[in-house]
Amino acid sequence: MNSPAIKFTKFGFRYRTQKNPTLYDINLEIQSGEKILITGPSGSGKSTLGSCLNGLIPFNYPGEVTGELLIGARKPESIFKLSETVGTVLQDTDAQFVGLTSGEDIAFALENRNVAQESMKQRVIEAAKMVGAENYLTRSPFNLSGGQKQRVGMAGVMVGNAPVLLFDEPLAALDPLTGKTAVALIDDISKQTGATIIIIEHRFEDVLYRHIDRVILMNDGRIIAVMPPGEMVCSGLLEECGVREPLYFTALKYAGVKITPDKCPGRLDTLILEESDKARVREYASTPGLLQTTLDETPLLEVKNLSFAYEKGQAVLSDVNIKLAQGEMTAIIGANGAGKSSFAKILVGFEKESDGSIIYNGKDFTDKTIPERAEKIGYIMQNPNQMLCKPMVYDEVALGLRARGVSESNTRKRVEKTLEICGLSRFLSWPVSALSYGQKKRVTIADALILEPEILIMDEPTAGQDWRNYTRILDFLKELNTERGITVLMITHDMHLCLEYARRALVFAGGRLLCDAPPADALSDPNITIHANLKETSLFDLAQLAGCTDKTTLTRVFIREKRRNHDSIRVH
């Protein structure tokens, strides 16, 4: 074999602004044509490692490099030179998409190399075909869905024929089915081009839907382990580092099945279960499952025949009917662009419905203004940076009360209390800019909570958060729900979250409410999952593999156990 595609030797890096290095002692060889997954908790240095590969480090982010890095047996010279070897697909598809149309965007790298127009058009079409984007070459990014944008992004990198392709969190904003398609697409690309593929991702299980050669686990700036997926799963290191292990694997553990690497547990379709193991799973699935809780009958919020369009003639929501009872914890799920966020925006008055009515506590809510609604329904947008507008945490949280003319002494009391509820007391006098993403998100929750709303809507509470932060945020929401009786609505693409925390799932598809049922039921009905771009979790597949008669029972038992675990954790 010839020399490795990438070789780190005793490599380390410290950002200029940091006191301590972010990467320590990295020794790693990646052979050409390999498919690698890099995973690890938030802040462990995954993206930093990726930036070393594409040259952003050290050329754009200054800092101190130690040790040696060879890419294609050469030392990195410049971002431009490296871009011929390493193609990068960024996490943020909006930032990745720089052209005014898809075609232009795919051509971008070629334009920059002065490729003549005719051959450029030819190559753009070829690349677009490879990812299935050839039908929207003339469309602008603004009316493409998240998944389509990502295809264009991939084509734009592939057109450069780089032998190494780097993907930083390709799945973060995609709905489950689109995410699955993206993983398959990356796999196809790797087979067709023979390129070395490096994927950075929190969603371990989703990436392992297709074959991966080796998994690199990072923690605190070091490489903890490099192993094939099967061994990695069995090693128990994932949980230790705060990365969520595959759901089916946890279920097998609960069921008392002993899993070793030779059973190929890296992917469910390669997993080998003996008859005795299957029997264990079946037995486990027959223990008492989650009880269906009946909800309070009188609705707190009732939406009747709601329809909406941003532009005339293009319905985003049509004829939606929903009743929400006080104290619910409910998830809204569905494909990218199904109208989930739009629905929330109508509830809080950001957008005006074109038809239908909203009734709150028996009274008509439709002609209430945005600030009036905010006192009843708090809406927390996906991106905290769009909600934060004061430099200091205290002023930020106090803003809503001050604008309503509450006295300063009263404001202070309520701010302190709210910050305490959100676990932010010690940041009271901090600047907002010094907080991490997850902490900022909690500040925005405090912004909404301080108005003492009865309903809280969170848009994508966990996107891009690692498992630890994720659990923290959700346990916090759950606490608000159970202890303060606040009704919680979560908009999410995470089926795990939906199963584990929600008692009810509202499934949106193409602007309609497709289904209103307990999550386990909604997710096990193929009619629904297909229409709403959802995906069954691996628990259903495991149930099938083990030969359970009813596929949902395993899920119910599993959720019950999970919830019991949460509760016991909270008690101690």
Binding site: A107, L110, E111, R113, I370, P371, Q386, L399, D447
Partner: protein, 273 residues
């Protein structure tokens, strides 16, 4: 919601390159800047209205822009009259009073003629500018600028600005809604002071989230090899055809004519009095 309404149609104007239409707009605007000759301005307006008709863009599609400019010109005329009811006399040197309104405000033929000229002058390039805007694909725009020897980075900045306007607009919209939910009032009903405070509350998150965006977009551009070479080719570039050359020649002729009118009129103004 989008403001850059490129309207995709088949017309002789659409087949012209963006560069041609840009040159035309710029030259016409220079020509009508140079002179105040009424006949010339009228000719420019008529020609560019013909171009507009040729472009098959319907009046309905530019309703909003038209009403904006009408309001703008109306107010401008009123203000000019309020400030200098005798600007016409100053310009043309004579005074033929038509009727008197009050005190120093009387309407003279000269003032009327002057204000008609001002209006024509402002309006002269509007049809051409609208045609240029509605019939040029945004992607081709940057390529056009680069063809005109504008540095490709500056040209690309225009394209990128157009790329990000709808997106910044959406986040503006979302930020302003989020702020309203917190009790900040920016509606037209609110008193001026409150509205300004509200405006400021929106600008901060807007600017700071943009600052984050700048770094990520810059990385994205650089990772795909932007800015290293001295030149770049353009996917959306189009070659000059006969029609393009004809339009450019005509536009140059217009500038020449406007200079000639200076000599004929012995100054910028055509004086019928």
């Amino acid at each position: 919601m989008t403001v850059f309404g490129y309207i995709d149609k088949k017309s002789p104007i659409h087949t012209l390159t963006g560069a041609t239409k840009l040159i035309m707009t710029l030259l016409l605007s220079i020509a009508s800047m140079i002179t105040y000759d009424t006949r010339f301005l009228a000719a420019v307006i008529i020609t560019s209205c013909v171009l507009f008709a040729l472009s098959r863009v319907s009046l309905g599609e530019i309703k909003i822009i038209l009403s904006l400019i009408v309001v703008f010109l109306l107010i401008n005329n009123i203000i000019i009259f309020l400030f200098s009811p005798d600007q016409g006399t100053l310009v043309y040197g004579t005074r033929h009073e038509l009727f008197r309104i009050a005190e120093r405000y009387s309407v003279t033929q000269e003032q009327l003629f002057y204000q008609i000229n001002v209006t024509l002058k402002y309006f002269a390039i509007v049809p051409a500018a609208i045609v240029f805007f509605l019939t040029t694909e945004p992607g081709e725009f940057a390529a056009s600028l680069n063809t005109l020897k504008v540095n490709y980075k500056a040209a690309y900045a225009v394209s990128l600005a157009m790329r990000y306007i709808p997106e910044v607009q959406r986040s503006y919209h979302e930020i302003s809604q989020a702020q309203q939910a917190r009790g900040i009032d920016i509606s037209k009903k609110a008193p001026l002071k409150k509205r300004m405070a509200g405006a400021v509350a929106i600008v901060f998150p807007l600017v700071f989230s943009s600052m984050d965006k700048i770094q990520t977009v810059a990385n994205a551009l650089e990772l795909r090899g932007f800015g290293h070479e001295k030149t770049r080719s353009w996917y959306a570039h189009r070659r000059f055809k006969v029609g393009d050359i004809a339009v450019i020649v005509l536009s140059v002729a217009a500038v020449a004519w406007s200079v000639i009118t200076l000599a004929i009129n012995g100054g910028r103004f055509y004086n019928p009095f």
